[in-house]
């Protein structure tokens, strides 16, 4: 029992990220409305960002900006600073997800202009009629 509790205490935020991500994932493949899908996509990508950021977290550590006093560097203990690498990676991932979102919205606008709806099944039946 204690072991399980311990497990929960040390891993819970990884589980939370998985939960959030699966919400997004379900939305992306299960929803019918394209905008809902897009929103789900954003949730999905954000969850991954959460995962990376929690990877970089260290207990009792501060943000990775080295404390310098008058340009004199004292001995640096890496354990006092959070892992900067996941943050850097996630800056990139955020940008990627924003860009993808932008392009997706642009395409969605175009789809709406063409079919006057954003419900996928309606669009598909529209296409079938035309064939």
């Amino acid at each position: 029992m204690e072991k399980i509790l311990d497990e929960v205490a040390t891993k819970y935020n990884y589980w939370i990220y998985i939960f959030i991500m699966m919400i997004g994932f379900y939305g992306m493949i299960g929803k019918n409305n394209l905008i809902k899908k897009l929103a789900a996509m954003n949730i999905f990508q954000t969850a991954i960002i959460l995962f990376y950021v929690s990877m970089g977290y260290k207990k009792n550590a501060t943000i990775p900006i080295i404390k310098t006093t008058h340009d004199v560097i004292t001995k640096i203990n890496p354990q006092e600073y959070m892992n900067p690498l996941p943050h850097v990676l996630m800056l990139t991932a955020i940008v990627v997800s924003v860009s993808t979102f932008g392009v997706a919205l642009a395409i969605a606008i175009k789809i709406y202009q063409h079919y006057n709806t954003l419900e996928e099944d309606e669009i598909l039946s529209n296409i079938k009629e035309k064939d």
Partner: protein
């Protein structure tokens, strides 16, 4: 190697994309020439790298920012990506010339801006192939995908937007899965450099995290390449895109993803992991690949639109390469790698030939090929040649990779894969001779060949099909074998 070529290969199209980005607001005329110039430079420098690798038989490394790996990002070019880089830049270059008229017609005043996307797409592919860093690969993958989504959407019809958005959703899932996989590897190793990860991983082969990381990387890549049954985005995306776009995306995108798969399998996780720790999984994947081959072939037979036929041929060809790579023996891997090369050329040639047809006839159904052979003799000659290559008739290149694949399948005792390869050849016979029959058995009404700027690239590529086929012995010996020796010991 202390030369500029590795950087030049990727950086030139990139910088020129930005230059075109500025120039297209000022002078639209010279954009095409700028794009052409940059791709020529990329092609030459990638050839130089290949030449260097084969003559000195050493791996080329390039430290970006001057930081040694794993601190910084490195370019690492061995025999595998050294082989693929020139082909990518070659296809991109040739397509730029061949599709110039299409671009004028399809994009009108936006043509000059389109070159930006085109160059960035090429940069992305080259970058994916050249890099030695797992995360850098992801970023470049996203550049490639983002440009691909938007280029596909530029088809301008409702269906192309829908296809593009579908592709985007699946592409995002695929890329995110890959990113997740990389994250899982990173959390256990603390490194993103491929060589470094390859060095660390054997100590933690039993970790569940690494296993799931591997699975997610693979599934992500499979979605991106369109392996059956994850191929659903592919046919629509390639069918409804502008022809100048599908001509470059179809030959390169899926094949580059297969490169990524092979790279991740053998240069990151290593053969002990993929074939040892995951023993039995490979049989399942090969089964999947065999299904891809057969289902792709059958679906191709049932289509009436030529573009869809081509797309399903691609789905089937993906099965070849995935299966070959997962057979886990040298011959299978050689076959898969050789087929990457061959299939890039074959698909490109196929799209070039049919592009010419669509350009002059503006129709895409199979019955619209009537009288093709009399009307467009050069185009149809190219078409016949590429058809034979896809069927696998020697001395065209398709035969030789198929040979290695079947040999590998026999050595792995995977008879189903071997049978499906043969079956696919037979299906392709039917498929292509259906085209040829329609083209041959109706009298030509008038003679109208595609413009020279489209014929010459087709001619060059069809020639390449034969040249590569005849030289495949030395390609395998000098280049692919070296990689396979490293990868499979």
């Amino acid at each position: 190697m202390e030369t500029l070529y590795p950087a030049l290969t990727v950086i030139t199209p990139l910088i020129f994309a930005f230059v075109v980005g500025i120039v297209s607001w000022i002078n639209k005329k010279i954009c095409f020439w700028l794009a052409l110039l940059s791709l020529i430079v990329a092609f030459i420098s990638s050839l130089k790298i290949l030449f260097y690798i084969t003559t000195t038989s050493s791996i080329v490394q390039y430290k970006l920012g001057g930081w040694p790996p794993p601190i910084g990002i490195e370019y690492r070019i061995d025999w595998l990506n050294g082989l693929i880089l020139p082909i990518i830049s070659f296809v991109a270059l040739l397509n730029l010339i061949a599709s110039k008229r299409f671009m004028e017609k399809e994009f009108k005043e936006k043509e000059s801006f389109f070159y930006i996307l085109y160059l960035l797409f090429t940069t992305g592919l080259l970058g994916v192939v050249i890099t030695g860093d797992l995360f850098n690969l992801y970023v470049l993958l996203e550049i490639t995908s983002l440009t691909a989504y938007s280029m596909i959407a530029m088809g301008g019809t409702g269906r192309s937007y829908l296809a593009s958005l579908n592709y985007l959703f699946l592409g995002v899932i695929g890329a995110s899965f890959y990113l997740l996989g990389v994250g899982y590897v990173y959390i256990k190793t603390g490194s993103l450099n491929m060589v470094d990860v390859f060095r660390i991983l054997p100590h933690i082969y039993n970790s569940e995290t690494v296993l799931v990381g591997f699975i997610f990387c693979m599934v992500g890549v499979w979605i991106k390449m369109g392996l059956f049954p994850l191929h659903t985005w592919l046919p629509n995306a390639y069918t409804f895109s502008p022809i100048s776009v599908s001509r470059i995306i179809a030959p390169l995108m899926t094949k580059v993803m297969i490169y990524v798969m092979i790279r991740v399998m053998f240069s990151v996780f290593g053969r002990w992991y993929v074939l040892g720790r995951l023993y039995g999984v490979n049989e399942f994947v090969v089964l999947l690949a065999s299904c891809a081959i057969i289902v792709g072939g059958i679906l191709a037979l049932s289509q009436r639109d030529i573009r869809k036929v081509l797309c399903y041929i691609i789905v089937s060809e993906i099965g070849y390469m995935v299966g070959g790579a997962w057979l886990g023996n040298p011959n299978g891997l050689i076959g898969a790698i050789l087929h990457i090369l061959n299939d890039m050329l074959m698909t490109f040639c196929l799209f070039l030939a049919f592009g010419n047809v669509f350009y002059t006839r503006k129709k895409t159904k199979i019955e619209d090929l009537k009288g093709l052979f009399g009307e467009m003799p050069y185009t149809s000659a190219g078409l016949v040649l590429v058809g034979l290559s896809i069927i696998g008739i020697p001395p065209t290149c398709g035969f030789f990779s198929k040979w290695y694949l079947i040999l590998g399948a026999l050595q792995a005792k995977d008879h189903f894969f071997a049978v499906s390869l043969i079956l696919s050849s037979l299906i392709n016979v039917i498929l292509f001779f259906r085209f040829f029959e329609v083209g041959l058995f109706s009298k030509a009404s008038y003679k109208k060949e595609a413009p020279v700027s489209m014929i010459v690239p087709l001619f060059i590529v069809s020639l390449m099909l034969i040249v590569v086929g005849i030289c495949s012995g030395s390609i395998v010996n000098k280049i692919i074998n070296e990689f396979v020796l490293v990868a499979l010991g």
